[in-house]
Amino acid sequence: MSGERRRPRWGPSWALGLRLGATLYLGLLLGLPLVALGISAVRLPPQKLWALLSSELAAEAIRLSLRSATVAALINTALGLLLAWVLVRYRFPGRGFADALVDLPFAMPGVVAAIALMRLYGPGGHLGQYLDPDGPIGGWLASIGAGEFSFTGSRFGVVLAMVYATLPFVVRAVQPVLITIEPEVEEAAATLGARPPQVFAMVLLPQFVPALATGFSLALARGLGEYGLVTIITGNIPFQTLTATVFVYQRFEEFDFDGATAVSLVLLIASLGLLVLINGLALWYRRRLAL
């Protein structure tokens, strides 16, 4: 927008009042909870905080969350790029419907999606039954000694939950960039003798790297914080499917506020860090566009 900003027509006291009101509302509503967690964390002596975090269960929960959220974000980066590409470039039956469907994981409450995913892929589910020990695939897995395999009650379940929750981020970050890329550039590269993979890697990819990075970070942040889908799908098995968010919830339920504070702090710092990164990426991206 243009640089000129006008003084409001109403008196300055009015504007000041509104500004004060808005700042107070945001400050109290959003700032106070952060302060509360900060105070609760400061009250813990550093050694105790460290001991709480390095307890086997807490450390494994944090590791699992980080690993699964990264895997889910990577899956969604690859398939999100593919989806965005297909939706922008090709005309095919059901394209509009598919485009609208991409937003569904944001609109659909996590619990609703979770029980549906369980009914589909869980033990005895419409598709999950084939993986059960007496199902064809599960039986085969058992026969080769893979033991009893549960798709949802394993790390696959954690990743599935996070993939569902974060699916729209990369698609919606890349789509607007793809729309602005003119096919003439690719055609020019092709005329100059570039093979399709070269065109993709050297002409197209550099243009949407910032958008991909933004989508990836958003997905990572959301995946780390995911709770509803994870808790219902995976059954929260300690050392196997118990994520950091579920750990916080269980500590809280047992009135172990110190344990909950320690892991909450890690999750909060991670999301604040990613928030700064995402804003930095947006800035970088705007600068690139301005060039």
Binding site: L37, L87, L104, A107, L120, L224, E226, G228, V246
Partner: protein, 279 residues
């Protein structure tokens, strides 16, 4: 650019991969919700929804949504107005703060609310004990939690739209003698209406579907602080699949409806089509 009809088998393969992924992860679950809800027949469906616990959960959910959404709509309009039309220090901070609820884990949000309002451990423990007011494990706590979680949606949608409003039109209205309010309603408001509708829908969908933060703050007291999402979880864990899917289908319908309206709003020319950041 305009989409083209695929001409190469690799292009069809890409489409097939993308659509298979979308079908397995998004489409099949939503079909499952409605299929399972109606699997036991309409009578069972109706019975599950009109169960007293379910009705109470539904009423509570609507109540806290009806508190959070209007408040955050008015406030979101105000904040986006301030951000777009005024220059003041701390503006960048205000914008960053606004993004906060989208990136913090709902569980951490709920736990932070406990740390503020818990009568035993909270920041205001003394005051809360003295006043005898129940905040956590009661309706006020649920409403405040929803306020926190849904604060960004309206402001994030309206702010960019407000920046796009041609200032000349507002100035012309002023020159013709319209008051500040009149200018807002007749000139500015029509420009931001699609964004506002979009923001309110996102805000409502999130409020109805919130689960993680709510499950910490509510204490899950059946018939008292159990919201609809918590009711779905409880019935599901009690192996009452019919009840769980019936109530889930209510929430799912709202999600589908919000998606339909979003798609319609997006088709209105001139409306902001920026992607929603979170759900």
């Amino acid at each position: 650019m305009k989409p083209r009809t695929p001409s190469h088998w690799i292009q069809w393969l890409l489409i097939a991969i993308g659509m298979t992924f979308l079908t397995l992860v998004v489409l099949l679950p939503v079909i499952t919700v409605f299929g399972e809800a109606l699997a036991a027949g309409l009578a069972a469906y109706w019975g599950s929804i009109t169960d007293p616990d379910a009705l109470h959960a539904l009423r509570l959910t609507l109540l806290i949504t009806a508190i959070a959404v209007p408040l955050n709509t008015v406030f979101g309009l105000l904040v986006s107005w301030l951000l777009a039309r005024h220059n003041f220090r701390g503006q960048a901070l205000l914008l960053a703060l606004l993004d906060l609820p989208l990136s913090i884990s709902p569980i951490v949000v709920g736990f932070m609310m406990i740390l503020i309002f818990s009568p035993e451990m909270g920041l205001f423990a003394d005051a809360i004990q003295r006043s005898g007011l129940r905040v956590v494990f009661a309706t006020p706590g649920l409403a405040i939690t929803l306020l926190f979680v849904t604060v960004p949606f309206v402001a994030r949608e309206v702010y960019p739209a407000l920046q796009e409003v041609p200032r000349e039109e507002e100035e012309a209205a002023r020159c013709l003698g319209a008051s500040g309010w009149r200018t807002f309603w007749s000139v500015t408001f029509p420009h931001i209406r699609p964004a506002l509708i979009y923001g309110v829908i996102l805000c409502t969908a999130r409020a109805l579907g919130e689960f993680g933060a709510i499950s910490v703050v509510s204490g899950k007291i059946i018939g008292s602080t159990n919201t609809l999402t918590l009711h779905v979880e409880r019935t599901y864990l009690e192996y009452d699949a019919t009840a769980a899917f019936a109530c889930a289908s209510l929430l799912g319908s709202v999600a589908l409806l919000s998606l339909a309206v979003q798609t319609l709003v997006r088709m209105i020319p001139g409306s902001d089509s920026s992607p929603p950041l979170s759900g």
